[in-house]
């Protein structure tokens, strides 16, 4: 699955996109944990807002192969 990082989260992670292979049945929460183990990325919140396939999703959502998981910093449009 593909993780996307925007704005301040991209700056923290140092990447726009990371592709990770997680075991079948993994949750968003486990994906976040994996991402946060990377250098610098531990500054991400433990439970950031995320969107799975472009819709806001709970941290407990079970992920499937090919899912697009976006880490959504607090939004500030307008």
């Amino acid at each position: 699955m593909t993780s996307l990082f925007f704005a301040s989260y991209r700056d923290l992670v140092g990447a726009e996109e990371i592709v990770l292979d997680l075991p079948e049945g993994s949750t968003v929460s486990q994906l976040v944990e994996q991402v946060r183990s990377r250098p610098g990325a531990d500054a991400l919140p433990e439970a950031p807002a995320v969107a799975v396939n472009r819709e806001y999703a709970s941290i407990d959502t079970v992920l499937s192969d090919g899912d697009e998981v976006a880490f959504i910093p607090p939004v500030a449009g307008g």
Binding site: V50, R54, Y56, A70, P73, V75, A76, G77, G78
Partner: protein
């Protein structure tokens, strides 16, 4: 209904044209503009960034829900991304309705929800050369706290 994220300069009056109809007696057009200060700090510009595919979809959902909530004719929303200078339009929202009350309320509802829900971020550039991502709103997430 017309919902767009765009990297081109916004002409708010085009948004108003999108919603015009002979059945509607009121058009409310809201424009968000980059201003030259933020809490007393002089600003030279703002960089807007969006998760574009999701933002477009989120705008569409907001417009559909607001249109079902109020007796209005049509809504158009355009939000800009990229580097904007003071005076540039960041967002235009046009609502046409038979009567003004619904047009005002729907317009307000769209901008409030846009600011709370749509994945867009802004980085302000200050006169002193400093830049920073602005604090935003944690979007409501199903099952979230």
């Amino acid at each position: 209904m017309f919902c767009r994220i765009t990297s081109e300069p916004i002409d708010p009056h085009e948004a108003a044209q999108h919603v015009r109809s002979d059945a509607d007696g009121a058009v409310v057009l809201f424009s968000g503009v980059v201003r030259n200060h933020d809490r007393d700090r002089p600003v030279v510009g703002i960089r807007y960034e969006a998760y574009e595919e999701m933002a477009t979809q989120a705008l569409r959902v907001i417009c559909e829900e607001v249109a079902s909530e109020y007796p209005i004719g049509d809504i158009a929303v355009v939000h800009r991304v990229g580097d904007l200078s003071v005076g540039d339009v960041s967002v235009a929202i046009a609502v046409a309705a038979p009567h003004r009350d619904a047009a005002y309320k729907a317009s307000r509802e769209v901008i409030e929800r846009l600011k709370r829900e749509v994945p867009i971020w802004k980085r302000e550039r200050y006169v002193d050369g400093d830049e920073e991502w602005l604090d935003g709103t944690i979007p409501g997430v199903p099952g979230g706290s």
